[in-house]
């Protein structure tokens, strides 16, 4: 049966000193020999060889590269693999790739290398997803979570839970199928207890889900406050670059600006918005509407009031509308020696920080407070336990949880064991789907769609 050989540039686009072209499939070695006429046989596995890469048809030298051959199944995909590390930039990798294609390989589809690795049992589905996460990771924390998945942290946990369910099932089987055995069957309340433990474990995992999901996208953190409050200045200061325009003119910022930053390793989507006020200007008004929309979806709001100025009625009425946790930023503290603002009238604040974009005062406090607010459950424990970061996992674990809970409560309510047991298989199935143990075709398609070519 013909499995074809695929090739793609596996390093990202853009200028870099080197780039890598990967070839995988039964003909990978052959492709290499065609590209490197100087080689008279496929090099020993895992030994780097410097080669001149030549155009297969006319022998023209395209680049000088390092070729490494991996023999199946000891390779990323589980197939024969050749990795060609060539010069970076725009031309060299492309030429090397097209030489591979000319030598009989086919351009790989998005995610095809990882898909092959999964299908050959080198990775489970969670690990395959983690590969894509590792590549996409924009924060240290998310990277660590993905790495844990890659190391089978989550897989091991879910496998363990699945085994517990299978064990529960076997206790029930003993109960139902051997009524007259010498050994008395395990009491149903013991089985119910065991089920409770499984529910608790599932709960513990699911408890990581809200923050886990934030970890993927970054917590949406929105600057708000009157015009000229210094929002854009603090925004820029946190980003460490002059991203937003700053002028002494109120109403400078119009459209919302969004940037992802890491604060203490955790990802945040910072959004700078137009200052809030009643305005006649059409553009400014539109900007304010955008700001309000962001405020609705915000995970955290940074509400700015200049330290030298009084709290206004408008501030209060805006604050009332905000449902997300609010951190008050008293801006431009360098301009005043006045005392701290009395914040009692501002409602329950998640924190208040005096900052100065000019002097940098208070910025570290922000960097510290925001992770504690958005990721309270993960700060400190990250890396110890697997975190749910994907809807696919969360949904399945929720199903499993509710089925096991139904199983437990049916036993407690005195329903017959065989009735209660109808909840176990669906729970097992849900867990198996997460691992990709039973593969529903569509799940796979979704998973591998997320990849870009070359991974």
């Amino acid at each position: 049966m013909d499995v074809d050989t695929i090739a793609a540039i596996s390093t990202g686009p853009g200028v870099g000193a080197i780039a890598m072209v990967r070839v995988s499939g039964p003909e990978a070695g052959e492709v290499l020999l065609q590209l490197a006429p100087a080689l008279d046989e496929i090099p020993a596995p895992r030994m780097a060889r410097v080669i001149d890469v030549c155009e297969p048809d006319d022998g023209e030298v395209i680049d000088r590269a390092v070729a490494t051959y991996y023999r199946k199944p000891e390779s990323y995909t589980g197939e024969d693999v050749v990795e060609l590390t060539c010069h970076g930039g725009v031309m060299a990798p492309r030429l090397v790739l097209s030489a591979c294609l000319a030598a009989g390989a086919r351009q790989a589809e998005a995610g095809e290398f990882t898909k092959r690795a999964y299908l050959r049992g080198k990775l489970d589905l969670i690990q395959a997803e983690a590969v894509s996460d590792l590549i996409d990771a924009r924060s240290r924390a998310f990277h660590r979570a993905a790495l844990r998945h890659m190391e089978r942290g989550l897989s091991a946990r879910i496998t363990g839970l699945r085994e517990s369910l299978v064990h529960l099932e076997s206790l029930l089987v003993h109960h139902i199928d051997f009524p007259e055995e010498d050994e008395p069957p395990v009491a149903l309340n013991v089985i119910a207890e065991e089920a409770k433990r499984v529910v608790q474990e599932l709960d513990a995992l699911l408890a990581t889900a809200p923050e886990g999901e934030l970890l993927r996208e970054g917590a949406l953190t929105v600057f708000a406050g009157r015009p000229n409050a210094g929002k854009s200045s603090v925004f820029n200061a946190l980003l460490g670059e002059e991203r937003a325009i700053v002028t002494e003119e109120p109403g400078t910022t119009r459209d919302a600006l969004e940037e992802t930053v890491q604060l203490s390793g955790f990802p945040f989507r910072l959004v700078d918005t137009a200052g809030l006020r009643e305005s006649e200007g059409r553009v400014e008004q539109l900007g304010i509407e955008v700001a309000l929309r962001y405020l609705k979806g915000a995970d955290i709001v940074l509400f700015c009031i200049p330290a030298p100025e009084e709290t206004s009625e408008e501030d209060r009425s805006f604050l009332e509308k905000i449902t997300a946790p609010v951190v008050l930023l008293e801006t431009k503290v360098d301009l005043t020696d006045g005392p701290e603002r009395d914040t009692t009238e501002l409602g329950g604040l998640a924190g208040a920080i005096r900052v100065s974009a000019s002097s940098g005062q208070g910025l570290d406090q922000i960097r510290q407070l925001l992770p504690e607010l958005a990721y309270s459950g993960l700060v400190g424990s990250l890396g110890d336990q697997p975190i749910l970061t994907r809807q696919r996992h969360i949904r399945a674990l929720k199903i499993a949880r509710s089925e096991v809970e139904l199983f437990r409560s049916s036993l407690k309510d005195g329903l017959p064991a065989e009735i209660a047991s109808t909840h176990l298989r669906p729970a097992e199935t849900a867990l198996e789907e997460v691992l990709g143990v039973i593969t529903v075709d569509d799940v796979l398609d979704v998973v591998f769609r997320e990849f870009c070519v070359g991974k």
Partner: protein
Amino acid sequence: MDARYDVIVVGGGHAGAEAAAASARAGVRTVLITPDLSRIGQMSCNPAIGGIAKGVVAREVDALGGVMGRATDASRIQFRMLNRSKGPAVWGPRAQCDRNLYPVAVRCVLDELESLDLFQEMVSDLVLEGGRVTGVRTRGGITFYGTAVVVTAGTFLRGRIYMGQEAGAGAGRAGEAPSIALAEGLESLGLEMARFKTGTPPRIDGRSVDFSRVERQDGDDQVIRFAAYTEEIIPAQRPCWVTWASDGLKKVVSDNLEKSALHGGEISGRGPRYCPSIEDKVVRFPNAPRHQVFLEPEGLHTTELYVNGLSTSLPADVQRDFLQTVPGLENVVMTKAGYAIEYDYFPPHQLRHSLELKEISGLFFAGQINGTTGYEEAAGQGVIAGINAALKAKGEDPLILRRDQAYIGVLIDDLVTRGVDEPYRLFTSRAEFRLLLRQDNAIRRLGLLARDVGLLTEKQALVLKDRLDQENKLTAWFHDTKLAPNDVDPLLVEAGSGPISGPVRAVELLRRPRVQAADLLSAGRSDSDIGNPQEGLRAGVLRAVEVELKYEGYVGRERERAARLEEQSKLLLDHDLPYLEFETLSYEAREKLARIRPETFAQAARVPGVSPADLQNLLLEVRRTRAREGRSL
């Protein structure tokens, strides 16, 4: 005296009797050939039918127009519904039978069948023509020609009996000759064969038992019949007895272990884990304080008792010694010694779901020779092999039961798809849809199917229709009738349930725990429009409706899951897929699939050793193959 038939059944055990009956019912000329006509339906081991899961199979066989249910009712001397303390979905009817009456009853049922002939002879060989079977030859040289042949030779193929360390003596059962020529003939066809073993316990003289030292166990008072279409006359009932073997027995057994054929290495075949010999029990569970022993009557007119739980292949004197350590058996007289038997079976991956051999057209196998153990398992296969042999003779498509339709479907699919590595016995846990596969609804699951392929007589079909009509009507009554607080509050409170404030549909009340259908029916009697729907109900109707309605939600979920699986199983796998060339599959998976050649994707998913990754690849390989051939998936 050569003869010509449509279907020839070889062997008159439980598989053979059912196969012959099914084939003859379907209206084709059938002959059953077996060495001793007086032993058709003989119970080789314990004279008991049913049990958990097995009892459901007995009812399925009956629903398919089979012999077993009627023969059991006509010969039973004790009946118990096992698992009664659990939900009705896993109830297991079990009957102790009179060893002599059972075969008589089987014979009576067979004698009703016009297109069935019986012939007493040993079959020694098959007649083949170009890869298809065309008949059989007997030891005496007679040739029977037929379109299809069903072989059901049980434990007889190269059977050897072991007791203690004497070299095994050739026998198909105690006192009966083994079947050697037929075994060799089948082997020469290139079929794969292997050995299994099983054992039977000693029998004792009831007059020598001290009944004051054992516990009496009576059967259920309520009469629940196995047979749904015909009411047989049930004989007088007898008690069983329970006692417990403990340290004394353990000592005798362990002191003599090396004398056991099973443990001394005489027997190489594998035995059933579920029905272990006492040697096995003592070795595997050295810490169990005691072992339950049932003393079960062998019949109405004998004092002989079957010692259930002490199956063994130790020498006879050791058997007597260990028996006498058991409370109540101190002075026991042993009438027959237990023994082990080793026999050939054909690893069942060589079969299709119709029980026809993949490689030999027209040849069907059923029963113990497919690696199963138990009368019910044999009978279930017998019906399917028999009807499919008949359908083959008629040129029609085979009858195949799905896993969500019958335990028989589970059994055959397990055999064909997974193969066996020890004698196969049914459990409720083998079925992924055990809530659907109940003893109370066997008729509803299989009755119409049976009627449509001709397995039911006209009379039986009428009974079936009447029964299903009654169930439907009763179901409708529960759905349509609203019951008033006055009428039902007392019974609700009695059941520990809360009273109601206004009229509530009967079905909703029925779903409450401990509320009984019969009580609701009586309470609803005041509802004059409807009359009393309970009047004239056939036995089992109320129970069937009650269980179905009570657990409708759960049953519905099971049905949905079954439907989803059915969907998946629709992807058919061609018989000639080049599995060995599917390089993306693991080597093990390639071999297993090539060997079993599953018919559907769902079946492939159940083959042990085929990993999920393999399945995924299989799907891709099939897609590729089909795409190349320009077909859609």
